[in-house]
Amino acid sequence: MSPATPGPVPRLMAWIEERTGLSVLGELARKKRVPRHRHTFWYYLGGMTLFLFGIQVGTGILLLLYYRPSASEAFESVQFIMTRVPFGWLIRSIHSWSANLLVLAAFVHMFSVFFLKAYRKPRELTWLSGALLLFLMLAFGFSGYLLPWNTLAFFATQVGTQVAGAVPLVGPFMLRLLRGGDQVTGGTLTRFYGMHVAVLPALATVLVGAHLLLVQKHGMSVPPAVEKRRSESGGAPLSMPFFPNFLLRDLIGWVAALGILAALAALFPWELGTKADPFAPAPAGIRPEWYFAWMFQTLKLLPSHILGLEGEMLGVLGFGAGALMLLLVPFLDRAGEAPGRWDRLLLACGWAVVAFMAVMTLIVYLPAEG
């Protein structure tokens, strides 16, 4: 616009800016600030989850080049990727490892947000979209686990879908819907594949977009305890610019994660196991992915009948209720009305859930070593 600066790049930028007004974004990024206090560390977990999700998208697309979603070819094509495609072992192992780290990061992110009470008004919808994203990530994990069509995944899927069948009323229908029939077959594989590479990514794109937009809109939440202390001491709130100070720190974490992923993939390549044989007896020690292990163990420990109702059904209903509670957390926290008691109760519930999940997971993994 100024006649004195006719460089080709600025001209192009100006041309684009005139038509899109994208500089608003840059402006936003420049203005955005991240609060600094002793809990700032937890702010990085959302970014970490996003980064790992990006890795999943990238490696997932690469795997699609060679993967074939059918019972007769799925295992062989993954074997082909692992053995014949240059660096195929690396791509697949990173995809598998990253999936696990992603779920881990998402859980830690969720709990940190919970305990720092970052879901309070006006961030209820941010929490809601985040919780839905967590469920999506679990669905990604569950559907992706079956795709290599190996024995372990086959039977884990059989057990996992069986659990869906225990839901009252709609259970049998859901079981058939998930499996694409009464049994886990090649049809189930195709179904899970479609979910894993089309349905879930589409949903995830929308939800991630919404989640980020909301985070951007409301900025980072400062925990009430920190806020309180600061207002008592009367100091000015500390903060740092998002760009570049916070983003550079984010980047350090991401690069470190990349290094960890590379090391895990090279030193502990994800095993493929043996091809699934629907007619073979179930092998000993079938076990779902670790992040489902606590649910698996809970269902196992429940007595077969509780008060005349089927134990498994009650368990599944319990998980459903738990998921609903998770979604409703912002609306359960009514700190404004009765400060103190509600707060403590909710926090205690949170810790109880963490402890329960940890103990159940440990029960699954400890005896295996003894």
Binding site: R84, W89, L267
Partner: protein
């Protein structure tokens, strides 16, 4: 006699067994033949046997007279449309008219219970009659009775020994089932037990001065394991080596032929060497000298050579030619086994670490096949022939070891690549950390 023995041995045992109930059937039918006017209903499709007055009257009697009517549903003769009087004679029509005396009229061919010693002849009336048996099954055999006559059981029976086994001792009396029926006492998994009821009974065998340990020994054998644990009904049980109806102990000269009916390569090699050396090895090296008979155990590599488990040193003495050959054979086999294990371990290791070794593993199969071949070739007692296979196997196993080493090298390359990229990543992290320090120092605007 000799022909029939050979026939026995070469025929798969189950076939014989299958034919047995058919023979009994024949014999029963023959009874009617001999004793009465040929009944018109004997072809399949005649009147239903359960409707005869024999069954309806005997069903109201007690004990031994009631017992046969309990089996009308599972005895093959009944199932084929035969009834009591087809074997025992008599006139059920008279019984139906309320005249039991007339029904049991010996003049009308009623035989009652056959005398024990006469049972084989009783059954053979039908089961040795080709024309009669073929009405029921065109493939059925009718030589069981003539075979029985050649057996020790049959010869003793002919001599009037009441204790000698007759048809019913193995097949049962009124609940005779097809040999293919797993409930039959002559079904492969039950044969040994059936033979053992007499042959493992000291009281019975004392009279003949026969040992009674065979059944217990057999149950420990590799054959029994394949049959009972592996569920392989083609695995040999008593009758596969001894014959069914023509049961005799194989003579010393025939052991190799008996074993060779399944272990054909070993038997052929054995005979070839015999011919080549123009020797009769039969008396000194029959199969059982090394492998035993009823308790035959899975062969081990230790049986070859001069070690503690060696079977060679039973005859060969130190520094004779055979002794030296045994040493070399043992060395080769152990060398091959060792290399195979090493190759397999290396490939396992590489595979667990994520390197593709499928084709190498497949190539290793060649070494395994040659190991099997070499173990078989031990039975040629021909060192040169043995060494050809052993060396082929060793070469293949060496190739496997080399493949394992290549896979390990590939793994090292991966680790080196990882090391390099980790160095780069650490550098990036340091650079980013320095950059963070720099931007932090800039005052916020």
């Amino acid at each position: 006699m000799r022909n029939s023995r050979l026939l026995l041995r070469s025929a798969p045992g189950w076939w014989l067994l299958l034919a047995v109930p058919a023979v009994v059937l024949l014999a029963l039918l023959g009874a009617v033949h001999a004793a009465a006017a040929e009944p018109q209903h004997l072809a399949p499709g005649g009147p239903r046997p359960l409707e005869t007055s024999c069954v309806s009257c005997h069903a109201q009697l007690d004990d031994a007279l009631l017992e046969p009517t309990r089996h009308t549903g599972d005895d093959i003769h009944f199932l084929k449309g035969l009834s009591c009087h087809d074997c025992h004679g008599g006139n059920p029509a008279a019984g139906a008219d309320g005249d039991p005396e007339a029904a049991h009229d010996r003049k009308l061919g009623w035989t009652g219970k056959p005398v024990r010693g006469q049972v084989p002849a009783f059954c053979a009336r039908c089961h040795a009659d080709a024309a009669f048996m073929k009405r029921f099954n065109p493939h059925t055999r009718i030589d069981q009775y003539s075979e029985y006559r050649t057996s020790v059981h049959g010869r003793r029976n002919a001599e009037g020994d009441e204790r000698a086994a007759v048809c019913v001792d193995c097949h049962g009396v009124h609940s005779i089932r097809a040999v293919s029926d797993p409930r039959s006492p002559v079904y492969p998994t039950r044969v040994a037990e059936t033979c053992g009821t007499c042959h493992a009974d000291e009281n019975r065998m004392r009279h003949y001065s026969l040992a009674t340990t065979q059944y217990a020994e057999y149950r420990k054998s590799v054959h029994a394991r394949a049959l009972y644990e592996g569920g392989d009904t083609s695995a040999p049980t008593c009758n596969d080596c001894h014959g069914s109806h023509g049961a005799v102990p194989p003579g010393v000269e025939n052991v190799a032929a008996v074993c060779g009916s399944c272990h054909g390569r070993e038997a052929t090699l054995f005979r070839e060497t015999e011919a080549k050396l123009k020797l009769d090895l039969t008396p000194c090296i029959q199969c059982m000298v090394c492998h035993g008979n009823h308790a035959v155990s899975p062969p081990t590599d230790g049986m070859v050579g001069v070690g503690a488990d060696s079977t060679c040193t039973g005859c060969h003495v130190e520094e004779d030619k055979g002794y030296k050959a045994a040493v070399r054979m043992a060395d080769s086999i152990h060398g091959l086994v060792e290399r195979l294990r090493e190759a397999s371990d290396r490939l396992d290791l590489a595979e667990r670490a994520g390197v593709e070794v499928g084709p190498d593993r497949f190539a290793l199969q060649e070494a395994r096949d040659q190991l099997v071949e070499a173990r078989v070739l031990v039975h040629s007692f021909d060192l040169e022939r043995f060494l050809i296979a052993a060396q082929k196997g060793i070469a293949a196993a060496d190739a496997g070891v080399a493949a394992g080493k290549r896979a390990a090298a590939e793994l090292r390359t991966r680790r080196a690549g990882l090391g390099l990229s980790l160095v780069i990543i650490v550098a990036v992290i340091i650079a980013l950390a320095l950059k963070v320090r720099e931007v932090d120092r800039k005052p916020a605007t």
